[in-house]
Symmetry: C2
Subunit: 656 residues, 2 copies
């Protein structure tokens, strides 16, 4: 299908937006009037610029509040329209979006509306122009697509058709099945936006919180499947109003927009039927047939993921030495060295951490920009080549492997924060992962690493994001990796507020949490500012017995965050814990949460390394599937106490 985007989606001036849109591969634009008014280029020059960039202008918008309470006002509005028709002809576009009236005195009688729209359609038609009528969700009387269709149907003029917009339909929970009565050739234009369900009125929701399909929580797929079922064959056009996007770099945002459309097309084709409720995906041949019928372009499928193969840190020598001490104190063992590179392998149970000191490498470049940090993650994919192909089709930059002839080439893609994501082949049952063959393994150390936490592996990862990066990351993990977004959680930090969004694979094998803090001095902000961008803030490792691990680590003086006695007193009061269990929690300094079904989460946090990242040891009992977020305020306050104690110790050191 033809792909378009409204200029209002991107930041900057029109002359910045158009090149970014062209570079991302769009066929066409909707010109938003304000962008034109602000532009020092005259309309003819804008037309030329679009032509030079290979962009068609598919629509000009919006024309507001056309229908009128009085004949005099109607005449003024018709005159106003003629001026805009002149402009459209200069721009070289034939389609004008006319949205429903939001004025308090707007006419409500469909017959009267039809009479007025007939006059407008007649004038447009005389010039070879067309009008797409759109119901705004906050229109005074015309709020729903079926109300706008009632007007268009009555007028029955070839120059008047419908504009359908997923946001306006879905935000009012209107049923797209109501489109069934509209013939496809009377749908002149389709605009697409998603949005999270935020507690806001419809207008605020629309003006500030829209996002690209897949970044929000609305069923844009179901909406679009219904529109296509009507026989619509025009462009898919994105129209998003979002405070973050207005501030984001236009080029990256345009790439995200295209990723969203590509993902959406796949979702539509895979939808088992056109009804707007999700059902099981169709068989591959059916999907392909449907995609062909509707001119949808399919992506390589998203293979199942089998966990995290390794977490790779970038460091220089002195930091790597400190990091080694820290990992050692937390129970990790150095188990191997790379055959040809300055790279060390660490382990605890089945968890693998790589510390990369190689001088000419992505890790080194990452270190120079971000300091000690997670520079790469490796995912075990059941079809690594497919995972890679899908990522590339979705606009991810491919990073070729740097491997010697006898080593495993691990190609990667770049993530939204320019760290790397490797796709490793998931090992067959009982096999070691292939990447370990590039390491000289110390068998005794490996045994020591395996023993205290048999089977321990990464449970989840928490990524701290700068404000405005949540939507790009959500789309990346959802579209590229095939993960599913879950809960939003507010985290109260003693120094501000952060928000987290969980996103997981359907089998729970991959869990990640994206946390964002706005400009406040929270722990998340501290991590972001230390990292110079997004970064992995927490590596949570599932262990078989967190109480015994935490107890032995605390005895050995490991850098674990303290837990207050007042917290444990309250746990007893809240849950009436068994005294033996309660004292085990106290002794080990382990946090506790219980879900509504009685599932339990026991967890303990390391102190942060350089205010950057920390390790969480977790134990899930009885099907607990959350992230222990009720304990977040405790962790964040403990972090504050710990930081203060560090500062006091440093002052004492300086004084002594």
């Amino acid at each position: 299908m033809r792909r378009a985007i409204a200029t209002v989606c991107l930041s900057g001036l029109l002359t910045d937006k158009l090149p970014a849109i062209a570079a991302a591969g769009f066929d066409a634009v909707e010109i938003f009037e304000n962008d034109l008014l602000q532009c020092s280029l005259k309309p003819a020059a804008v037309r030329q610029m679009c032509a030079d960039l290979g962009l068609a202008i598919d629509l000009f918008q919006p024309f507001r509040d056309f229908d009128a309470a009085s004949p005099a006002q109607l005449q003024r509005n018709l005159d106003r329209a003629e001026r805009k028709f002149d402009l459209m002809q200069t721009l070289g576009t034939d389609l004008l979006l006319v949205c429903s009236n939001v004025q308090p005195d707007a006419p409500s009688d469909p017959a009267q509306l039809a009479e007025q729209f007939a006059l407008l359609a007649e004038r447009a038609g005389r010039r070879g122009l067309r009008l797409a009528h759109e119901a705004l969700a906050w229109g005074t009387h015309v709020k729903l697509a079926r109300q706008a269709w009632d007007v268009v149907r009555r007028v029955d003029h070839p120059a008047l058709g419908m504009a359908l917009d997923s946001f306006h339909t879905l935000v009012l929970k209107d049923d797209p099945a109501s489109f069934a009565a509209i013939p496809g050739d009377k749908i002149f234009f389709v605009q697409l936006a998603d949005a999270p369900w935020v507690p806001a009125d419809v207008l605020t929701h629309s003006r500030h919180h829209r996002c690209f399909p897949g970044q929000g929580e609305m069923d844009v797929t179901g909406f679009m499947a219904q529109v296509l079922a009507c026989g619509y064959t025009g462009p898919l056009s994105l129209e998003v109003f979002n405070d973050e996007f207005r501030a984001a770099p236009a080029h990256a945002n345009a790439v995200d927009a295209m990723r969203s459309l590509r993902w959406l097309e796949e979702q539509i084709a895979r939808r088992a039927d056109a009804a707007p409720t999700p059902t099981a995906p169709r068989a591959a041949n059916e999907v392909a047939a449907r995609a062909a019928a509707w001119h949808l372009e399919l992506l390589p499928p998203a293979p199942a993921l089998d966990g995290w193969s390794f977490v790779e840190f970038a460091a220089d020598r002195p930091t790597a030495d400190r990091l080694a001490t820290w990992l050692g104190a937390l129970g990790f063992e150095a188990v191997g060295r790379h055959r040809s590179k300055d790279v060390a392998l660490w382990a605890l149970g089945e968890t693998r951490i790589v510390i990369n000191l190689e001088p000419e490498s992505h890790a080194r470049r990452h270190f120079e920009r971000h300091g000690v940090s997670v520079c790469a993650l490796a995912l075990a994919s059941t079809e690594a080549a497919d995972s890679l192909a899908r990522a590339r089709a979705l606009g991810c930059q491919w990073v070729p492997a740097q491997a010697a002839a006898d080593e495993l080439p691990l190609p990667a893609v770049q993530t939204p924060d320019a760290s790397l994501l490797y796709f490793c082949e998931a090992p067959a049952a009982g096999q070691r992962p292939a990447f370990e063959h590039d390491f000289l393994i110390d068998a005794e150390a490996l045994a020591r690493a395996t023993r205290p936490a048999q089977g321990a592996q990464v449970d989840h990862l928490v990524r701290a994001l700068p404000g405005g990066q949540l939507e790009p990351w959500l789309l990346f993990e959802r579209a590229v990796l095939g993960l599913t977004p879950r809960r939003n959680t507010v985290l109260n930090d003693p120094y501000g507020v952060s928000r987290s969004r969980e996103i997981e694979s359907d089998d729970g094998r991959i869990r990640t949490s994206l946390v964002v803090s706005e400009r406040h001095p929270t722990a998340v902000t501290r991590t972001v500012s230390r990292y110079n961008g997004a970064g992995v803030q927490q590596i949570a490792i599932a262990v078989p017995d967190v109480l015994s691990l935490a107890r032995s680590l605390r005895r050995a003086g490991a850098p674990l965050l303290p837990v207050t006695e007042n917290y444990h007193d309250d746990l007893d009061a809240r849950f009436g814990l068994d005294p033996a269990f309660s004292s085990a929690l106290r002794e080990a300094g382990v946090l506790y949460e219980r879900d509504a079904q009685g599932g339990e989460y026991l967890h303990v946090y390391s102190a942060p390394f350089d205010d950057r990242f920390e390790i969480e040891f977790v134990e899930r009992r009885g099907g607990y599937a959350l992230y222990g977020s009720t304990n977040a305020p405790m962790r964040l306050a403990a972090l504050g106490e710990w930081r203060r104690a560090q500062a006091a110790a440093a002052q004492d050191g300086a004084a002594g």
Copy 2:
């Protein structure tokens, strides 16, 4: 009255919060349970810390979800309460806040609730403790104060009374008149919070957007007048949940909290009656009598303000030379020099600008921290001494005058961004302002400055604030200066979104606008980061004929922002302007707005000086009382174009 604050209002750890609360002059605190759980001090040590700081602990909170669907759950909740009673006795507080149940299975029958609360009251009473029952606005069944009172009334136990909270009452638009049935001695506690009317659900509204009374839009005064009319004599306690406050420095925030309470007490006393609708203020003796009866402390009154006397810039010599060139190009004239200081006086019509280069001065210190910027504003007050006394009573720092013996001493107070605010005596009719006597005036220059813009004076000021500074500034201008907050406006910048809040004197003589941008690269953020804090971003000057002034300035090549032809084409289409007027607007490059009553606003902006501040020339016609904000996107885009042209010119210069 006794003044208290909940520890949750402030950022940081409990051990940070308590000293800040004590320093701001509070009598007591409410200890919020999470603060205690996070604290490494045991409860007895917290009690001691409060005692050492002279703070009583008036309340411990919250005890949630007490009433129970099953006898077993009820027993668990009673056991849980006993543990909290132990804790309260260790803390040395006798009052526990028990809020209404928010669980889906909460009991709804008032008789059953009364039965359960009677058990709890009995147990509390046995220990000499008391319970304050609060209706949460999002309680499952008990949402309104009258529903909570129904339970308390049925129980009729001396240990059970009410907690009333202004937020919970006002957010549901419940009428405080419903308290009339509650005897004052059954109101055990009163919590106060204000909030803006944001489009959010009640829980989100409460958890993230509460603010101190006077910072929001709710009628906290009417609420409190009604509570006092019941005979309540307990503490006034602030309880605010706010994302910004969680991130703000605790000390400054505690000072704001006290300012809010002092202002609120005055408002209550001035309210003509206890009904929760505003009416004309009472005569002074009645106000005093009422304040005495209710133990409210009055402030010195806020005198009427008669406009801005002058705007003072801090600069060093080279910047002052550039600033002089810029002002000169915009039509200002240098009209005088200070008798003893290195200070210049500039004028346009009646507008006065002071450029202060004095080496040992507040201006110099301000310059060193913020660069060229507005370091002080002078307000003409009808009773300057009263204005000053009121500001000091509200916790503003007083800055003594630095004046020679024969010069006018101009004492000042420090504003929330550490710039100065002078209060000048408003001159009698036909008199020159007293501060001008300290300057040697060049009469010819003064005549030149007066002629082109007879009577021109400051129309309004726009202050660019860092995120989180809106509430402190609103309270400062409202409480200290007696201004009234008006509209909120969203400003779309090509590179993000800003929000503005207008605050004015009732006669429109003083108008200011506070603009905030979150972390986006907007013009507001650029100003804030250049200034290293808050700063005056726009000085709007009302002139008698903006068209002729702009035309002559543009002819002379003055640094005015361009206006696009596309904008003027659209003005014609929108308003059907008279062709002669339209071409006058085009020729002068003047922006135009018309309000619903036909009032008109003609305005033009200078280019910014060093990305910091700009001058707007405005003309109000036909009673127009707004700020031209529909043209903000045009201004902001023009700023983007202008900045790009500057950068291109600089590159050409560098290349040539």
